[in-house]
Symmetry: C2
Subunit: 375 residues, 2 copies
Amino acid sequence: MQQGFEFTLHCSDSNCDARRSTFTTPHGLVEMPAFMPVATLGTVKGLEIDQVRATGAHMILGNTYHLTLRPGEQVVRELGGLHQFMGWDGPILTDSGGFQIFSLAQRTKVTERGAEFQSHIDGSKLSLTPERSIQIQQALGSDIAMVLDHVVSLPNDDAAIRDACERSIRWAKRCQELSAPLQAQFAIVQGGLDKELRKECAARLAELDFPGYAIGGLSVGEPPAAMYGILDATCSHLPADRPRYLMGVGRPEDLLQGILRGVDMFDCVMPTRNGRNAFAFTDSGPLRMRNEIHRTDDRPLEEGCPCIACRRSRGYIRHLFMASEMLGPILLTAHNLTYYQRLMSDAREAIEQNRFVDFFRGKMAGWGAPAEIPG
Amino acid sequence: MQQGFEFTLHCSDSNCDARRSTFTTPHGLVEMPAFMPVATLGTVKGLEIDQVRATGAHMILGNTYHLTLRPGEQVVRELGGLHQFMGWDGPILTDSGGFQIFSLAQRTKVTERGAEFQSHIDGSKLSLTPERSIQIQQALGSDIAMVLDHVVSLPNDDAAIRDACERSIRWAKRCQELSAPLQAQFAIVQGGLDKELRKECAARLAELDFPGYAIGGLSVGEPPAAMYGILDATCSHLPADRPRYLMGVGRPEDLLQGILRGVDMFDCVMPTRNGRNAFAFTDSGPLRMRNEIHRTDDRPLEEGCPCIACRRSRGYIRHLFMASEMLGPILLTAHNLTYYQRLMSDAREAIEQNRFVDFFRGKMAGWGAPAEIPG
């Protein structure tokens, strides 16, 4: 492992593939399994940085594509790098821009050199190569940089998926050649819903000895069961002594399904975006806070939740949304992120006590989610 | 003074009319001169309640007109009253709705009984009488309730101003008859820009022995000097042993001009509204945070300011506004409210040390504001 970084596997649950580990970075420890709140543009939307810390997050994620457009990585660098810029002194992971080029940019054209596309903000022509993505991430100064990958839509024809997967492996090598101190690069497994291709991609990337591995190109519209199947096929082909990161996932049940299969890290905009849309996560399923039913309800969103929203009543939170007050989105963002972090913390404890499967079944039952266990 | 309330005048500055006092309420002390942040709909826009407390505010203001429309005072009452509803355990002052009927409601018709108008939200027909205003404020459970007053636009003809002033006095008496324990009512001096009428109104309301007195109907477009002239004419005719509240004012320089003339309390949306519009108050005048000049500026908004915004750089705050991130308005709201509270705290200290006039001149010079002293 690269200097300044360390992955320590504490234990695995004997009844499934769930793992309890710690990842050490130059900016501190990440207890795993871990969920990273998304700070797209150098801010977790709606929260002051102390409020982000108070949710229990250890590591956050910044978006290379967004930050290179606004304010530009040179501005961030002049202002001390992404940690100082936004006031987060813990670990930061930056993505590579690969997913945004696929999902957000316009008129994208991918060649072996890289991607050409138009900005989603002003239509200006831009390009992103593997080298440029790493250069931006180095200017941002993140602890973990992701290699640039070629993401394709699903379903897609086999040749296109294989082609993008092969290119992603070649691009990973090009990124690795620019690896710098104090920043660990994670490679990204592609391969669509083709289990054999995923296995092959995982094995070939594993040979390149990256400090960590991600599973990308999922949660792009495929059924959850298909995603879980890919995790089953992929995780066992990734090195056991490196963290495994399932990118852009997902719902609370997806996180537990991932952990069950040996995933260590997650990120998703769901807790923040849904929070802004009046949707609150609880152990007994979601609450839609604009609903009339909450009008004079004096209970908190979730009994026992230590977040700032749960000091108020459901009735107050409903009022804030009905009156379009900023505090509604702020409070639900804090609640949902706290919910996700408590879920991870409870999952870590369950693995330590070798009872993750019971924990998994209990949570799934509360949410009314299917809890079939693989194998 | 009513039970549960106490006004203690600690000292006056010997070179002007500035006073240092404390007002005791059932929910705690208010050190005066004091500035009240505006929590229109049960939230200081953009801030979580702990962040409001951290700005140094002792008392906040809620709007009767807005809260009776949304969520309705009965909902607030069912959820424990305004203090519990919004999580503020300090003193709360509610206005009467008089100013909003004048400024915000549509097709307003004022008769001796009260005002008939249409909601600015959905156009529904509503009425507000002096009795109803007090009833709403009692349901909200504020520490200080304002009597319903009849506000008219300025300039206006003498008869209309006199008529509204006389009606405001009659309405004050009707409110006083409904006075209840644990809630102090403040009367409101009207009279437009007519100094004699202001004096008369102040003297006649003083005879009614209210626990506090407000100066209303100002900051409605008249020149600042005209407002200061009215303060000169009015304050000396209000009882020295009761707090004096200048409603809806104002800019930092207006606050100091008011304190110089013996005003004890202020409220205004300026620090919060301007903050949401990228405008930051500092001792050397305002900063417009969308300006290109701040792009890579690593300084805080104001050296020595303890607020959450001043832990970040001007460059970061500019980025947040350029990217339309919620955190931009949040941080500037916190900064501006902290700026106002520090100004009040420094003013209190200056009065205690009998150097308020020097303090006044120093601040005015920093802002580039005219600092003529009356008399």
